[in-house]
């Protein structure tokens, strides 16, 4: 839907510090149109900070952030408005669609897409964690969004659900391609989803390894690409020799 628009997202020489805590130092990051970039790194290294800089919730101390296109973030959890139903939460993403009929159709499509038919009128607190994350995803995908920032969206889920959600995400992105920056602790996730993995060092964060994965998605969890990629990342993080 927004294919015509050129999407660009870049950090150039960005540094950021909270008070005296320096979190990022002269970081450069370029995200290509339609690419899925996955950031992995130790806890507290500044991944969430990067996303906040990209989305504009934070202004960098120095450096430049460049973004065109509509950005939406999928949070780890509790990003849904609890006073709105599933349907209403999804409709938030469709606010700019003025045609009611089209909005209604789009909403139905999205509910269908995330397999939540029958739950349209449920409130977030009546859903399971996995269902909630799917609603968040649907909301972020709705309407004219170009870029998805995802901050550990599946980390609160159990392992099986996480595996399933990963497949779901791949399926959904196939139908609605987006430019994605995805933060995770889960190396499996990175290996299965990414076009490009950026391994970050601990604070202040710098990119210490960049991995391109050319194998098309969906990727088999026990397939050689995933295993190889995981090995490389683990080595980079100093967890395997």
């Amino acid at each position: 839907m927004s294919d015509k628009k050129t999407v660009s997202l870049a950090l150039s020489n960005v540094s950021h510090s909270y008070g005296t805590t320096s979190v990022l130092q002269t970081l450069n990051l370029q995200v290509k149109n339609g690419e899925v970039v996955v950031l992995v790194g130790p806890s507290g290294c500044g991944k969430t900070t990067i996303l906040n800089l990209l989305s504009g919730h934070l202004q960098p101390s120095t450096g430049r952030v460049q973004r065109t296109g509509n950005i939406r973030t999928v949070y780890q959890h509790d990003g849904l408005f609890p006073w709105l139903t599933v349907e209403e939460n999804i409709a938030m993403g469709l606010r700019s669609v003025s045609d009611t009929a089209q909005r209604e159709k789009e909403k139905q499509d999205l509910v269908e897409l995330i397999h939540l038919r029958g739950f349209e009128n449920h409130y977030p607190h009546q859903l399971s964690g996995g269902m909630r994350q799917r609603v968040e995803l649907a909301r972020a995908l709705a309407g004219q969004s170009d870029i998805l920032l995802m901050d550990e969206p599946f980390s609160a889920l159990d392992y099986q659900t996480r595996l399933r959600m990963r497949l779901e995400l791949v399926r959904i992105l196939e139908q609605r391609p987006r430019t994605v920056v995805f933060v995770t602790h889960d190396i499996e996730e990175a290996a299965q989803l990414a076009d490009r993995v950026l391994v970050l060092s601990s604070r202040p964060a710098t990119v210490c390894r960049e991995l391109e994965i050319l194998t098309p998605r969906p990727r088999d969890l026990t397939g050689s690409t995933v295993i190889e990629t995981m090995k490389t990342i683990l080595m980079e993080l100093g967890l395997q020799h």
């Binding site: 949070y75 408005f81 709105l84 977030p124």
Partner: protein, 262 residues
């Protein structure tokens, strides 16, 4: 399945039965005390006398008039303080400096018993509905404003981030994000301050009024009619409880349920 259904229905019965039993026990105790003259008649009227005075007050139309007078004053004072207090709390909650500047003052007035205002209420508003409305306002404005304020100040920042992602701005941000996110707390604050209002109205009507439930007690006392005073006390208690039950229904609304189920 059948078994569990059975227990839940018998639990429900118990839920009704137990309070009724306690109530009956209290009335029985009252009857025993009055009939054994444990207290002299002038110190504790008999249930019979109270029932009779209830009938009398009801038939003369006084009781209805007093109930309406009290409800009217509480309603007006309460709506006034909600329409001013909640926006004030919203504003204060969003402005750190204003909050720092005003909170000590608000707290000062909150801890000042509204009854302390009685002399001024009468001086400024003379007698009639106005002083009572003023006292209700003074009793409920500050707790409401403070509760709203602290609710706003503690809204998770993630809601505002999401709101920014989805382009909520200005008045829409206020009515579609800020307000609903504190609605559960506002409802709780409303219930609490309604409780204060109902307690205050009785005291407020003892001076400067010519009708109302509080006045009814005062008047009964002047007329050396404790039976009618007890009748008014019962009406006040029952009404207060009933209205609180009504307000409690607000917490059952689906779009605030989340606030009470976490």
């Amino acid at each position: 399945m059948i078994n569990s259904k059975h227990t839940s229905s018998s639990q429900k019965k118990l839920q009704i039965l137990l309070p009724v039993l306690v109530l009956a026990g209290v009335i029985l105790l009252w009857i025993i005390i009055t009939y054994t003259n444990l207290f002299p008649a002038y110190a504790l009227p008999t249930p019979g006398a109270v029932l009779k005075s209830f009938k009398e007050e009801f038939e003369s139309g006084r009781l209805m008039n007093d109930i309406i007078a009290s409800l009217w004053r509480v309603a007006v004072g309460f709506v006034l303080s909600a329409t001013l207090g909640i926006p004030a709390g919203l504003w204060l909650g969003q402005h750190l400096y204003a909050r720092q500047a005003c909170v000590p003052m608000l707290n000062f007035f909150r801890f000042l018993s509204p009854l302390a205002w009685i002399p001024f209420a009468i001086l400024w508003f003379h007698i009639g509905d106005k002083p009572a409305v003023f006292l209700i306002f003074m009793a409920t404005f500050f707790p409401l404003a403070l509760a709203t304020m602290s609710a706003v100040a503690t809204i998770p920042s993630i809601y505002f981030k999401v709101a920014k992602d989805y382009n909520y701005k200005g008045i829409e941000l206020l009515t579609k994000v800020t307000f609903p996110s504190i609605l559960p707390q506002i409802i709780t604050a409303l219930r609490v301050s309604y409780g204060i209002a109902w307690v205050v109205i009785v005291a407020a009507e003892m001076v400067g009024c010519q009708d109302g439930l509080g006045y009814g007690i005062w008047d009964a006392r002047n007329g050396l009619r404790l039976d009618s005073a007890v009748c008014y006390m019962i009406v006040i208690g029952v009404l207060g409880m009933g209205i609180d039950r009504l307000l409690a229904q607000l917490t059952k609304l689906p779009n605030v349920r989340w606030g009470y189920e976490r």
